[in-house]
Amino acid sequence: MLTLNLKNKVALITGSSRGIGKTIAIEFAKAGADIILNSSKNIELINKISKEISDKYGVKVLPLVFDVADSKSVDVAYKAIYKEFKQLDILVNNAGVLESSLIGMASNDIVNNNIDINLKGSIYNIRSASRLMLRQKSGSIINLTSIMGVQGSEGQAVYSSAKAGIIGLTKSTSKELASSNIRVNAISPGFIDTEMSKDISKEMYAQRVESIKMSRVGKAEEVAQLATFLASDISSYITGQIIGIDGGMVL
């Protein structure tokens, strides 16, 4: 069996108070990484998760509350990370929102939230993380895009735009940072069983499952295992890739 080892690595997972982000943080801790948890507002919750992870897996965990869409807060957060760890080996750009709307009814708030959190947040974090990684001449950056960013989806034009932007971001930064041994890849999940995926109607949920060739929703753990692979040195020659994890879903 393939054993993925993240010992002596420090990983920041944005949006890790729930769902896929929290599950990735747990998988990374299991593999021995020290963890930086992030939430935009819920300090009690990430403090609680932080304690649970450090007690269970014996790794160092730093909970940080900052808004990924606020560039100044991101700068401050990375200063705190540098002060605490002096290194950053893995960044997972997971923080995101899914606000659906037909294009003709997309309010400015929906446009701004989708773009600011999903896309600008990833840009700000890569900008700061890559600078820490440049010093050590190594690193793995994993961006969460979506099947909707690859294939497009009715009623999710704005969200899809932001997620498609993440694909461009992944490909461009992978080229820019490869010579410094910093890898950048993206995970493109299909329909995954999280609290966020339950925000849609029962009809829509059933329709989504029908569009999956494997006839089931994905598990957050399955996405987290892929993230662990991309974070580890086992994937040391993989960069600039958009890896689908969707059970054969067709939108």
């Binding site: 560039s71 700068d75 990375y78 200063k79 540098y82 900008r127 700061s128 600078r131 440049l134 010093r135």
Partner: protein, 81 residues
């Protein structure tokens, strides 16, 4: 070694230029060796040497050796000694 000497050496090592050419007027993009790619490597070395983390605006603004000295001063690095 004083801080200004350390900074000159960092510029010289990072950009691969003679230490004597590291003068206050030395400007970003004025020589082939100090282009945008070299700038990011230079920033990484400066941050490591002085154990600081610069703001994004400071990285963009660091247009000459003199400006680099001024920015380090703001991070409480005594650049005169």
């Amino acid at each position: 070694m004083t801080n200004i000497e350390k900074l000159k050496k960092t510029f010289s090592d990072s950009l691969g230029i003679d230490k004597a050419t590291v003068v206050p007027e030395l400007a970003y993009n004025s020589i082939d060796q100090w282009d945008s790619i070299a700038h990011m490597s230079l920033i990484a070395l400066i941050e490591e040497e002085f154990d600081i983390m610069l703001d994004t605006d400071e990285i963009i603004d660091m247009s000459s050796f003199q400006v680099a000295c001024d920015i380090l001063g703001k991070h409480n690095v005594d650049i005169k000694s």
